[in-house]
Symmetry: C2
């Protein structure tokens, strides 16, 4: 198998695992910081690494437009370009084509669109999406998929899912296996259990190194999202990693882990960090709020991150009020530490068969 | 003497020295990163410290308005608030009152103005400016002065200088001496040698722990600025530190050091870092320029900063084009390292009596 994965312990449906990539191991369940444009917003790779993150996410749609996959390849690949020595998973850009690009036309052989940055015209095919990710040097390549908006009718969701499955087959055929590298299929089908089941069956029949669940966290709400995961119970191979794309809040992650998800990514820790929203053991805080103006205590007294070790809420409040970029920097750092600490706690809970206790104590 | 200072070597008029403050020593000539609003823009204190900086600058005008000197005092003082354990020099805010505040009225007992942030009304007196800096906990307090714009007539410059000298006397009287703390007078008088000489004589007669040269780098050009410094030769006590305020480019700093200046501060390294301008051994670069798009070499091949060790010009170019805040972060870090490396080189050159060689090789 081109991408190693071992489940080391289970607790209910939750799994403690270890992914082996060409750029090192990833302990799962894992949260990947989002480095859409070859940068985790506001954080140096040293800060990302210090948070405990082992794998980051890049985005083929953004990088094909700027700076261009060929340029990244000529500069030695994405790892070297962004100075991240660990594993990188790249999203194919299907989601971004749907949400960002202009004048997009989805056809059976791919999608034609104009870039949101400069209006340049692109034709992205399944094989092309894989080739771009190869040029970037991704450890984990994602298939090109068509994401539908929420809500979508069953007919629309079925059409998009079946086109995505045809594309998945073409992506798999275009993927060049190498040790420590893999390609993941993406289960689609909206909130419709039969479509999701059909999608999973099709992907398993094609055979992938891992299986993602896509098209969620797009407005359907946590209950419908978890219902989709519950509906997929038993549908995905136990010996391959499972990735819930674009999810989510700390609570979403706990519930995803309880349903057997191994990988997550989300912009929330850094986006929240830029807008003064802090994650803490007691919930979220808005540090712009006047009640923090004279509070010397750290953002989260239970946190050992550099932000909480060195700075108080009153200082962060001041930085956000004064529009100092150090505010977003320090709070993104804290939030990412918070997420990585959550993952470490969940891994420890699975190892100790105490996940239900940890989840219910939250 | 409340603030220790020893000249350890000289080379021409240049001095190698050591300032002893309540928060540790500062090797001079020294460059102070500017932390106007209790933050060096875009840099954590760890990054500031790693650059080699030993003392940072804060600004009483900005901090009295936001978050307020009393609040900073209640939170344990500026050092603790901003997590900077080393020495801090605070500017009194005279320059900012003139350049930023609205509806300002300069009277003999001080200045009345409305804050540029929220229009709130303030009355800043010489004694009040000192009291604010005491509440902040500054190691080095600056007197309140009236800066004139450039160009100013000799009459206008004389009036402002003499008022500043009356304020300097009141500031000295209000200053509470403590071990490791000091107050600096500020030589004013525009580009007029007689006024500058009168100002220096007056300050020396009052007696300060150090002497700043203010009102320069405001548009008069390097030649006039250096002429003012040359005109002050012999006018300031040799056993006290000299500080050239708000200066400047690397070349300005070299020329200031050659004229016996011990301390500098300037926003250039961080401001340039936010606008893609890089300092290198071969001059400045604009990293937005297309010629850097495919260049994997570091910003400055002669530099050992974390930015140059980890990232190439093409990556920084990409970050600035993509509006990623990591661009300003990484380049501010490099530029500050560049400035601190310059100061270390100048100190080594003075110790070896080779300052002229180093200066002419630049």
């Amino acid at each position: 198998m081109s991408l190693g994965f071992a489940v080391e312990a289970t607790d209910g449906r939750a799994r403690l695992g270890r992914l082996e990539t060409a750029h090192g191991p990833v302990r799962t369940p894992a949260f990947m910081p989002v480095g859409t444009q070859a940068a985790v917003k506001g954080l140096t790779v040293d800060a990302v690494r210090a948070s405990g993150a082992e794998m980051v996410l890049g985005n083929a749609y953004h990088l094909m437009i700027r700076p261009g996959a060929d340029r990244v390849a000529a500069l030695g690949g994405l790892h070297r370009f962004m100075n991240w020595p660990g594993p990188i998973l790249t999203d194919s850009g299907g989601f971004q084509v749907m949400s960002l690009a202009q004048l997009r036309t989805v056809e059976d052989d791919g999608v034609v669109f104009r870039a949101h940055t400069d209006g340049s015209r692109h034709h992205l095919t399944p094989a092309g999406a894989v080739a771009i990710q190869h040029r970037l040097g991704s450890d984990i390549t994602m298939v090109l998929d068509e994401c539908t908006a929420y809500p979508a009718s069953e007919d629309v969701a079925a059409d998009a899912m079946r086109r995505s499955m045809r594309w998945a087959r073409l992506c798999k055929a275009a993927f060049v296996p190498r040790p420590g590298h893999g390609i993941f299929g993406i289960v689609q089908g909206g909130v419709f259990p039969d479509l999701r089941a059909e999608s999973a069956r099709t992907l398993v029949e094609i055979g992938f190194d891992g299986y993602a669940v896509g098209g969620l966290a797009v407005g359907e709400g946590q209950a419908r999202m978890l219902a989709v995961l519950d509906g997929l119970e038993g549908a995905l191979p136990v010996d391959r990693p499972r990735y819930l794309m674009g999810v989510g809040t700390p609570d979403d992650i706990v519930e995803g882990v309880r349903r057997g998800i191994d990988l997550f990514d989300c912009v929330l820790p850094t986006r929240s960090g830029r807008t003064a929203r802090a994650y803490t053991a007691d919930g979220t805080l808005n540090l712009r709020n006047a009640r923090h103006a004279e509070d010397p205590s750290p953002v989260d007294p239970a946190c050992a991150c550099p932000t909480c070790e060195g700075y108080g809420r009153a200082y962060l409040h001041h930085l956000f009020r004064a529009n100092e970029m150090l505010g977003p920097i320090l709070l993104s750092q804290h939030n990412l530490f918070f997420y990585q600490r959550l993952m470490a706690d969940l891994r420890a809970a699975i190892a100790a068969s105490k996940l239900d206790d940890v989840a219910s104590a939250r």
